[in-house]
Each structure stands twice: as structure tokens, then as C-alpha cells.
Symmetry: D2
Subunit: 293 residues, 4 copies
Amino acid sequence: MDRVRPRVGEGKVADYIPELARVDPAQFGIAVATVDGGLYVAGDAGTRFSMQSITKVFALALVMSGSGGGVWGRVHREPSGAPFNSLYQLEFEGGVPRNPMVNPGALVVTDQLLTDTGGASNALRELLCAEAGAPDLGSDEAVARSESEHGERNRALAHLMADFGTIHNPVAEVLEHYFRQCSITISCEELARVGLLLARHGRRADGSQLLSRPDARRIMAVMLTCGTYDAAGEFAYRVGLPCKSGVGGGILAVVPGRCSVAAWGPGLDAKGNSVTAALALEAFTDVTSCSIF
Amino acid sequence: MDRVRPRVGEGKVADYIPELARVDPAQFGIAVATVDGGLYVAGDAGTRFSMQSITKVFALALVMSGSGGGVWGRVHREPSGAPFNSLYQLEFEGGVPRNPMVNPGALVVTDQLLTDTGGASNALRELLCAEAGAPDLGSDEAVARSESEHGERNRALAHLMADFGTIHNPVAEVLEHYFRQCSITISCEELARVGLLLARHGRRADGSQLLSRPDARRIMAVMLTCGTYDAAGEFAYRVGLPCKSGVGGGILAVVPGRCSVAAWGPGLDAKGNSVTAALALEAFTDVTSCSIF
Amino acid sequence: MDRVRPRVGEGKVADYIPELARVDPAQFGIAVATVDGGLYVAGDAGTRFSMQSITKVFALALVMSGSGGGVWGRVHREPSGAPFNSLYQLEFEGGVPRNPMVNPGALVVTDQLLTDTGGASNALRELLCAEAGAPDLGSDEAVARSESEHGERNRALAHLMADFGTIHNPVAEVLEHYFRQCSITISCEELARVGLLLARHGRRADGSQLLSRPDARRIMAVMLTCGTYDAAGEFAYRVGLPCKSGVGGGILAVVPGRCSVAAWGPGLDAKGNSVTAALALEAFTDVTSCSIF
Amino acid sequence: MDRVRPRVGEGKVADYIPELARVDPAQFGIAVATVDGGLYVAGDAGTRFSMQSITKVFALALVMSGSGGGVWGRVHREPSGAPFNSLYQLEFEGGVPRNPMVNPGALVVTDQLLTDTGGASNALRELLCAEAGAPDLGSDEAVARSESEHGERNRALAHLMADFGTIHNPVAEVLEHYFRQCSITISCEELARVGLLLARHGRRADGSQLLSRPDARRIMAVMLTCGTYDAAGEFAYRVGLPCKSGVGGGILAVVPGRCSVAAWGPGLDAKGNSVTAALALEAFTDVTSCSIF
């Protein structure tokens, strides 16, 4: 907190939809959940914020547990070297997204999840509620509606993939689920608990195994190489942990086998990652020497 | 060995210079060196091969130890999402390479090394000899000459960077050092010992500290996100260790704090990584459960 | 005809929608209409075919006559050097299409036409009917419906431009008009007569002036540099006349001040231009020495 | 002159080499040479300036006359849609330049000219002297030397093409000829007379035929679609004549069968074309209604 406090309020709050633009930038929270049940919090760790792209990790986890990784034929797992909503790689690479952490890749995962669950949209919400120990997690309907109204770029991505045959369900349906997924709200405390799913290598809070140990590792590998968009290399260099960020200002980091860290600050840098959450994670690895390297 | 043996000979030996094209594809070796002094070898672990891009890791280590990381103003540390000898990103990104593991980035590192050492070219060779315990390591002069004769693409990269002011020393001089660096030959045994420099977080064989612990971690982070070109995501997913490959068919992997693994097989896949060495590393993490995730 | 006959049937009929794929490839027609009222025809000059992108010329003419060229703030007039349905330039160039002859540029023109006419879609059809002397010209409804059903790529283009603010009317409405516009059918005879509008430098069949003389020249300049997609340079080199092609297999060429030539053959080359129509126009300029150069 | 005078001095003098940067921006000249022997001049029409890329037209003319167009296998004739010294298209398109008017294409033409003439570099200078009626035309040696010293970008282009096999002669030799070719100085009067070679459809001042009539037309077609770099569409739209510009500030335009216009003003716009020369040509076609459309 000492290191982050002077910079709280820095960055630019996401303003592509009015609902996110209204968030007070002068907030910051962090929570650490350990695999042995500890929970350490500071700042606004109990305030809920928009999960946005952080949901992509858990949608991928569900798909990998459910359809045996069948999604991999339609999405690669390479860093994109491009912004998260970029189209040009799709155009040149046969409509197959670079990885499941950029928007087009996440749309493919949503598409697969719809197929796997027969259209039922609640699978992800239920997973998050159970792992967070918070049965009332859900979408912010105003945000979801606004995402849809201002979702021209995502519509372009989805139609382009439909043209290539990468999306199988109706485009409008996939987008609707995707927008609702992104608009789920969660607090740092809750998110840190959810992140334990990965820190425990796929074991759920109730002791059952959602993912095999290798699959949990693979998801963390994808987070490290692709989880913070075109700043993934910089995060690996400076933080040294698998991370996933969202434009709501949250970042989830995992120390495999040990703990999960959720940090949140609404102000974003030029690449769409939270300024203070990134700073907090860098401080965390400095202080604790927790690093996968 | 059991897993790799049936596929020895697969892939396409690098043929951009005649000297590499002549290497017998039916070879494979692997060596594991542990931080407590163990050495485990199999196959052609004593045969020397052309280090090529694997040298990039240690040139970077020298520069980070020598000039305080001053090289970072002229090279980013993001995955490129593009082939290792690609030019277009340089053109669009002000002549600053994406990372020190692709050719243009390595040329910048060489340029910095020339500046740091006042033009003395022996720093890298001396480091490798000392860590490998093999005073006779050196460049294969025929390979170096051939690299230079067929080095039109690297010349194009260097002149383009010179146009942007990214290269400070004379282009011809930088290229000459780079070609000689790439043509150093080494065996798996020797390379595994050299890799301990990173596994020990920067401590040299003689007990002195070349790199600070955080800098050693950062180099491994760069290896993980950028060390196997545009297959870095796939390597992280399948192997889960920081790796660096070379078109000579070698791959170096590091398990931080524990050991270093060097594998070699001359046949390459479409992205320039050794087919059998990649397979061997995947088998290694499967069998040992060594993974940073 | 003698030069073209041996190659009738060559090329690949457009197959992105079933309605076009069913067209018999073994057809060819040509018509020349002169400014002094002559009409010369050969082959299947009376058979109607799908105008497709050739309509773009006349939609642009209407917009330039109607809104005083106000469309130019939202579309450039440079050759794209890229396929007609490409997205990447839009992404990198702020959502502003390179020219009105590629699909995204034509969508902007349609958008402007909707604004200019208050949504009335008949302006273009009426112009074509009047100039062709054929009151029954109209859209093929089956083609229009099929364009819409298979129009994912155009939807992606339109949504991407909407994201950038280049499209002002509702995306679905713009697309619907665009698909109906493309599906208008016309014969070579009729098209050659319509083309006189440009050959007469903007004067209509009824003697009134639709376009100023400079604007007519400018439209022909846009045809020459952009009218045959990424083969515009080749057409200028080989044919030497302003041309506009469509994936229905038609090509319209204009000899300013003298005549208009419409050729049609359904088989397309790799860039989407009719093989036989291109050949016929090359033969035409060879034989007549008609060239703007 | 009246239209141009208020804007003389506008634009930015080319400053990539000191010799060009020193040119006084407050100069402007124009000359019109007619096929029947007339010559009309205004302003600084007798002052010599650096021809630069305008030489590309006449190097191409020599190659088309000499080697029967054999150069076309190694250079396309499509607008590039990219800056004149861009590399990325070469990388993606097999090392074959888009057209002979961008730098890499001109290097291929120079390479062919070297092959055709057995290395004799004087062919171009002799052609220009003869057509201009000025036996003392030649390279400005200080400019040529400076081009070579600051020619990193052109070196990158040439080495990249050598890597693809597009350049056949030694790279250094091709570059040296290219730099000397670009540095030839000429006045508007002289250049207008040289331009008559095209206006007369290939006939030289001495009555002999350098180019066939179709080849002369083809060169003008290449000028129209590619002669003013990524502003070719705009020039066709606004000027409506085949033009070729150079960073020395000159632009040559041709009215086929009638006359040749040379305009010069050192200040360039963002795309590298002279501000005042472009303005003068636009005024010329406005006033005279000379246009190929």
C-alpha cells in the first residue's frame, strides 16, 4: 500500500462505455488468498468492480474442463503482439485468433461454451460464485446493455470470424453472452479466492478437481504469455507471475502452488492495464520474492 | 530418449548456409546439469553443434551486467508475434526491435556489447568457456564466413536500424561480430553447464555473481515470452520452462533454482525450432513435473 | 470476338453466394456505345448479369452531384494496394477507406446516399433505368437476399467503420441498401449506354448535366487508379482506360469524349476481375488505339 | 504563376541529406514544351535542381527499350499504397517491388540497366543530355556522395531484395549507380524538353524511336498510377495527368500527344511531393482543360 498510495488516481478510466467512465478513479484495493486458507486484504478490497477480460481465464477453464480442449482447433495460444481488439491478424491468419485472452479468442471460447452447455449461460457465473463463496455474483445489467450498444468493434470481430467459419453459433447470441460475461462484478477479496482454483492447480474450493494439473499449468502459461495483451512481455519481465488484466482495472496474478493475488485500480495505462494494480503486483514480487522464475 | 528416439531425423536441417545444411540429421543429444553439481547425459550429448541464437541469451546477460541495462532504450521486451528475421515491425515501430531474442534485437545487443567492451569481441566467448569448463570453445570460421556471405537479410535489418539510429557502431562491424557469435559451437553437456548461470540466478561457476537475482529472473522471463520466436506461447503451453532455441538445432531450458537442460537435434520445424529437442523438453517436464507454473 | 472466343469459359465464376455460382461460365458479350449515338454489340450483349461493384461508380456519381462531394471527408481516393474486402487498412487508418471503389468505401457512399435522399433507395435504380433506356432494371431479389445471408465480411467492415464513426446511418440499413444495389442486373448494351454519362463528361441522356465536367473527370480518375481493385496498375498498363469491374463478371470502360465499352464474362481471375472482359478491353485498345495515354 | 506565387516557400525542403537541405525554399519555376517545338517558361525555369526520382521514368524507358521489358519479372506495376521507401511489402511479397517508381523498384531497374549495358553507367545521362539539348547535364558529386553516406534505408531495401534474389548485380554497385542517377541536376526547361520523349509517344528529339508507341503509353500509365507515391490517386483526381515527382521538388507531367510540363519548388508535402509544383500542375489543367480524362 505504501508504494502504491502516492499514485492512486493515475491512469485513464476506461471510457468506451459511460457506465465504466463513471467509476471513481481514486480507489485501490488488493487481496492475497493463500492455498492454506489465509486471506490478506488492503484498501478497497471489498468493493466490487467490472471483471471484464479477467472472466476470459475462467471461461477458458470451463471449456478446457468441459470439451476436452476442443476449442484449440479454432484458437492459437501465441502472444499476438497487437492490441486486444485488433482485427488485422484475423484477416491474415484465416480468422483464427492468436490466443483466448484477446477479444476474438475469447469470443471463440464463449462460442464453444455455448455449444458445450447447450446455450445455458450460467455456467461461468456459477463457477465464480462457488469459488468466491459469494452466491450473489452476477452481471451488471446496465454495463452489459452498454457494452452491447457500444460493441461495434466486437461485432466486427465476430462477423469477420463468422465469415471464416471460426464462430459456429449465431453471432448475435455469442456477442450477447460475451457482453454479459464481461459485465460480471467482483471484489478483490472474491477474485483472489477464485484465483486459488489455479494456484491449487485446478482443485476447486470444494475439493473436487475442475482441471487436470497439466491443464491448470497450461492456463497459467497462456496467462503469462498472453494475459496482459501487448504488455505481456513487460509484465513477465517486471512482475514475473501469470497475470490477467481487465479494462475494469482489475488484475489477477497467481503464484502456482502458493497463492492468488487480486489488485484493482480503475486508471489504465496506454495498453489497457491498470496502472496501480500493475505497480502493486510489481511491489508484491519485489517484497516477497515470489516469482515463477 | 525412449520418447524421442522414434522421431530422430525428423524436421528440416537449416539450409540457408551450406555449412549447416551438411549436418547429419540423425543425431540427438540431451544433458541435464543440476545446481548441486550433477550432470546427466544421453545420446550425442558430447557432440558440438552451432549455438546460433542461443548465444543471444548470454550476450544479453553480459550487456545487462555490464552497462546497467542501458540497452533497454533501444529494444523492447515484448513477444514479436512474427518470424525472427522479420523487418516490418522495425519499419512500423521506429526501428526499435520487439525483444533481444529476435535477430534485430540481438544485433542491438551486439552493438551495445561492442560499445561496452570497446570493440573487444572475446567477452562472450570467454564467458561461455569459463561456465562450460571448456577453454577451447570458439567460432567455426567456415560457418562465420558463410553466415557473412549469405547474410543479406541480417544486413537489411542492420541497415534499417542504422537508418533509425538504433545501431551506433558501424553496421559492417556489428554484423561481423554477430556472425562470429552465432557460429560458436558447443555440446549439450557444455551448454547445460553454461545454463546453470541462470538456474543459479546469476551466480557463475566460480561463485562470483554476474547478474543480480532480479536480472537473472528477468532474462528468464524474456526467454519464456520471446525465446522460441513465434512459437513462444506454444512452448510455454507445452513445456512450461524458459527456453532459447537456435537454428543449429539446440534448445536450452532452465528450471530456476534447480537445473539446466540442453537438448539438440538438427531437424527444425516450420518456425525454426528443433523438432526432437522440443519433444525432449516436453517429455522432460511431463516425466519430472518440473514446470514454473 | 475473334481474340476472346478461344478463352470463353476461362476463370472461376464467383461462388461466395449460390446464386452467382450457378451462372453459366460459357458466356461473353460486349457492347460499345458512342457519344454520337452509335451502338455496336457482339456475343451475349443482351443478356443481363449482376452489376455488383460496377454500381459503385454511379452511386458515387449521385453522391458527388447531390451532396457537393461531402463524402470525401470520410473516404480517401488512393489505390488501396489490397483486396476489395480487406479490413486491415481501415484498422490502421482510422476507419477511413482508401477509396470509394473498395467495399468499405462503397458502404460509406451508400451511407451518404441514404442521408442525401432521406433513406429513399430508388435514386440509383432510377438513374440507371433512365440512362440505359430500360425502365425495368432492378435488383435480383434472390441475389440480394443471398448477399445478405452470406454478407459476414461486409458486416464486419460496416461495424468496424461504425466503431470509428465513419458510418452515420444504422449499420443494418446501410448494408441492406448496399446488398440491393449490388444485385441490380443489367446487360452489356444497357451498361454501355449508362457509361455514356461519363464519356459525355457528366451529361445525361436527356441532355441535362448530372455532374460538372471536372467531377466527371475526377470519377474517371478514381476508376483508373482504383476501379479494378489491386489490379488497377495492371489495367492501366494493359488497357489504358478508366475501368470498373464487378464480381458478376462485367467491366465498364470509358474513352472520355468518345465512347463507353461494356464487356462481360462470368469467369474471374484471382483478383476478382473477369478474364474475358479484361482480354476484350485489351484487344479493344490494341485494335482501336483508343487510350487516354 | 499568379496562383502559385502566394504559396512559394511553403512545404518542407528535403533534409535527409545536408546538400538538399541547403536549397533556398523561395524558388519556383515552370516550363511547358510542346510537341511542335514551343517552349513557355516562368519563374526559375532555368535553375537546375536535383532530379532525384524523376530519373526513374527515364531509367525505365531505357530498360524497356533495351532488354525488351525483361525487367517485369522482377517488379510489378501496381500502386503500392505505401511510402516510397517502405520495406514491408517486399517482405510479404517475395522481394518483388510493387512498381518501378518506388525506391526498391527503381533499384531493380538500375540493376537491369547495369546488366543491359554491361555496367556502363552513362546511358541515362547521355539520353537526358541528348533530349534536353544540354550536353553538360550530370550528377552533383557532393549530392551523390551524401546520398551514399546517408543511404541506410536504400541499403536495407537492396540487401532485402538480394536476400530474395531480386537484385542480380552486387548490391554496392547497384546502389552506387542509383545514388549517382538520383543526383543528376536539371532545370525545368531542360526537363520539359526531355519529357517530350513521352509526349511524342517514344520518339526522340532526333526523330528516332526509342520506345514503341504502346510502350510509351505504358510508361505514362505507370506514372499515373505510381508516379507520385502514395498520393497517386490524389494527383489523378486533382491533376489528371501522368506525373512523376522527386524529392528535389520537381514534378514532370505529360499531356500525351501535346506537351510536357516541368514544375519545380523545393518545399515538399508530407508525402514527398512538391507543394508548389503540384499546385501549379493543378492550375495548369484547370486553366487549359488539358486532362487525359
